[in-house]
């Protein structure tokens, strides 16, 4: 078996091995740069503490950005879309069944029209 063959998709190709090699080289270069470090850095001193303009560090729970806060702007920006989409998910079993029968009828109509 040929492990280095490329995946041909008709219009293009994809070879993960070459990609991995490129990635590895970038990684090694980055690692070398990172390892050379900053000469003034010293472990275990005041330096490593978080610097908040001299204020006391707040509680850990207050620092962490919660999942609910992420993408708040995104959902707010698409409010018109989401305010229509979310209420559709009523959690009501009758509605679930209504959608099923609705889709049966819709697909049936489509298939008959474009026979």
């Amino acid at each position: 078996m040929d492990f280095t063959a490329t995946l041909v998709t008709g219009t293009g190709f994809w070879n993960p091995i070459i990609w991995i090699l490129a990635f590895l080289i970038t990684f090694i270069v980055a690692y070398l740069i990172w390892r050379s470090g900053v000469s003034t850095y010293q472990k275990g001193t005041e330096q490593v503490k978080p610097y908040l303009s001299g204020n006391a560090e707040p509680d850990k729970n207050a620092v962490h950005i919660r999942g609910g806060n992420l993408y708040w702007g995104f959902t707010e920006g698409l409010k018109g879309y989401y305010s229509r989409l979310i209420p559709l998910h009523t959690g009501d079993l009758n509605d679930y069944m209504l959608w099923y029968f609705g889709v049966v009828i819709a697909v049936f109509a489509l298939v008959v029209i474009f026979l």
């Binding site: 979310i86 998910h89 009523t90 959690g91 009501d92 079993l93 009758n94 069944m97 209504l98 029968f101």
Partner: protein, 114 residues
Amino acid sequence: MIEQIPYLAVILIAGIGIATILLKKNLIKMIMGLAIIEGAANLFLVTLGYREGGIAPIFTSAPGKEMVLPTVQAMTLTNIVIGFATTALLLAFAIMIYRKYGSVETNNIRRLRE
């Protein structure tokens, strides 16, 4: 002629079952609607195998006459048993829901949504 009557009944009965599922909010009622559709499906299957003037497909009464199709009857038997299993499972869920939610109305069983 006889072969055609049950098909009409199947459509109407299945329609009543679907209406029960869609319009009734009570879970027990909805499960009854499901069981009615189940009955309609069974009737449909048995009617498929019916041949006018045919006799029951039992080996000892074999000589001569035309028989109705046995495969659909085996299918129907299987489906009756499966139907009872699903009904029992759904009813068990309904009882459990009543214990936890205090209601079997679908508009109260909506803790999972959005």
